[in-house]
Symmetry: C2
Subunit: 408 residues, 2 copies
């Protein structure tokens, strides 16, 4: 197997999308309290106005605003207070010119009221006589019926990741169940004679399966689920059997590791052995992350990730997360900070380069130092807070430049 026909990340994503244009994730209905971090599978359209009535945004008096015009501290307007609005109830009376009704924050306005004057700008002389010391304008201190959400409005769009604000919107509309995409299912297969699981005894020459644990965590973070996790020796038949299981149970099969030449060759053949288009991408023009294989088998996406932890996570983000995002979600802003670089960062001509960095903050400014860990180290990941991306055509980054650091 060669990695000479490497393609860019953008090209790889395009190839994947073209080949999975008809792949659909299922939909389910869940309670809104379980919905955060899930993706909306349909537009949410309001069937009510929010609020359903004109509300006061302050504690004060509902009036007809013309009654306040010309009022000053020295020459106040005098109105007749005719009652009080109870919270959660309709006002008992409407008002006419010259009248005022006490209205608490959130209270419903009498039909004819055109403004609410804050209690601080009034004085109650006796039970009925109210002095007004300031003019107010039409609509002042009112949220009108439908101001927040209008009946028939699309309030949340299909593809939105549900956050606290979205849950709040759903609650305001009285929607307790919502249609979301089922969590995409992943099957993770770690390959290699040297890989042992966490509970096994470590003998010389072996290493523990790091990547599948890190991937497990990444998968859950983006609102997906792991339905199986297996370690397989360097053996074509064993690997094919596990991939077959994975294709049966999951939406996406991840092959992790396989740093030996043998496993890399198997991966190729295994992918090609299933019904479908076989290997679609064979090497990525990124650093690190070149030895990546992407294919299709039995209609499902199979991704062979590089063996080094950092490469594995970067390719997962660039390829797998992007696939999920394009199939289910709209653009989301990737958490980031801007930081001043404290060293020169080299680039690799023709490759998109990812540098892990350590961030420190001083006087509110972030500074980024490259993490000089060797390829293959897990601490290269755990001691970094984020990474800098250097594009294919760029010639590296100079010390002192301000760059975007994407947070891990």
């Amino acid at each position: 197997m060669d990695f000479f026909n490497v393609v860019t990340i953008d090209k790889a994503n395009e190839i994947i999308m073209n080949n999975f244009i008809d792949y659909k994730f299922e939909v389910e209905e869940i309670n809104i309290l379980n919905s955060p971090n899930r993706i909306l599978a349909e537009d949410v359209i309001s069937d009510i106005d929010v609020p359903e009535f004109n509300r006061s945004t302050v504690d004060g008096y509902s009036i007809i605003v013309e009654d306040s015009h010309g009022a000053t501290a020295s020459i106040p307007s005098m109105l007749r207070q005719i009652g009080e609005v109870a919270m959660g109830k309709k006002p008992e009376n409407d008002i006419i010119r010259g009248q005022a009704i006490y209205t608490p924050t959130g209270g419903m306005l009498p039909t004819s009221a055109s403004g609410v004057i804050m209690i601080e700008n009034t004085e109650l002389m006796d039970d009925q006589t109210l002095l007004i010391y300031k003019p107010i304008s039409k609509g002042e201190n009112i949220v009108f019926k439908g101001d927040d959400i209008k009946k028939g409005e699309v309030v949340l769009e299909k593809g939105r990741k549900i956050d606290a604000a979205a849950v709040g919107v759903l609650a305001s509309l009285g929607i307790s169940n919502v249609k979301v995409y089922k969590m995409p299912k992943f099957y993770i297969i770690s390959t290699g004679d040297e890989i042992i699981d966490i509970g096994e005894e470590l003998t010389l020459g072996k290493i523990r399966d790091i990547n599948s644990y890190a991937l497990y965590s990444m998968i859950e973070k983006i609102g997906c689920q792991v339905v199986g996790r297996k370690i397989v020796k360097d053996d074509y038949d064993l690997l094919r059997l596990e991939v077959e299981n994975g294709l049966e149970l999951a939406d996406i099969v991840l092959l992790s590791g396989g740093s030996s030449v043998g496993t890399r060759d198997y991966t190729d053949k295994v992918i090609a052995s299933f019904a479908g288009k076989g290997v679609l991408v064979h090497g990525l023009a990124i650093k690190p992350g070149k030895p990546t294989i992407v294919g299709e088998g039995n209609g499902k996406l199979i991704v062979g990730l590089p063996g080094h932890p950092v490469s594995s996570i970067i390719v997962f983000k660039a390829i797998v997360e992007e696939f999920i995002r394009q199939k289910l979600g709209k653009t989301e802003i990737q958490p980031q900070v801007k930081a001043i670089t404290e060293y020169n960062f080299p680039s690799s001509p023709g490759k998109k380069t990812y540098h892990m960095v350590h961030l420190r903050q001083e006087n509110g400014i972030y500074y980024a130092t490259p993490n000089f860990g060797k390829s293959g180290m897990i601490t290269l990941l755990s001691k970094s807070q984020g990474y800098i991306v250097i594009k294919e055509h760029e010639e590296g980054v100079n010390k002192g430049e301000e760059r975007v650091v994407y947070l891990l």
Copy 2:
């Protein structure tokens, strides 16, 4: 109750920390696969070296590097290939000067090897004769024993939020269970005669309980849990009873809403009615979010949040999240982007001002527009991607300035 003695956010956090200096969150041991987003309750110290042996980072030949010195494409060095390292096994033989052993990526090096030459820079003439076309330096393409993690090293610090990299580190050490803080428990009480729950029929004058749903989602997002959620009418006895329940079951009791003057007065009295220091903070110098009450009852934190959804979320982040962070976690970088402001943003002298903004991206640059929704609207939150903070002494933000937008 007055809000004249408002304090800054920093002062409020200091008062809270001083009064809860002895408050401890419990610790539990959980499987690392369930640990993402939880907070480490102890330092993790490695009891092994990672790797436990010198590993190759490439497919190539283990050699004694002096044998490669002087080698060029035209005058290669000639070595004797004496075998192959099997993945996951100890090499069967060591090497002496003049010898080489094939070593795949991740394979264990023979004891005397001081470098690995990449297969691309060699040529195998026959079974035993290896030509080397390039010199390599000492240690080249090797991860030495303990290079990644040293025995006795603190690899993850207490207070770290567990992410994919941390899970990877734990897996590499063979640690399958880890001590984390128990998820802090919250009890949410929504107050107000006008508040109805999501399933109830909406009659004129009522509004649905938005804030407790949004808070529920925020609480889970930061790795905490909600143990109870109640709606209470404007009644001192009912409110006190629920707060008592909350103090019994939870670490933190949140009072949400209570926009009417009556409820605000009750809150004060209710907090003071329990054993402890009573009301600690009475109004915050922020906009929005001023009408916030913080107190201590039966040794627990009680926070009365403002009624408007945006204010509620901002105070939650500034006060409650900060409390959890200071008690459990280390500094974490708040997700943010830098954006050019497209309007002037006013400030409120002497107050920290939070402006919700809508972000758009053009040619890789973010632009921020203030969300002009009225106070009290849930869409002011749901149509914003983040917020700009204007400090107490600042005079607003001018159109065209670059500012940090904190993501919601």
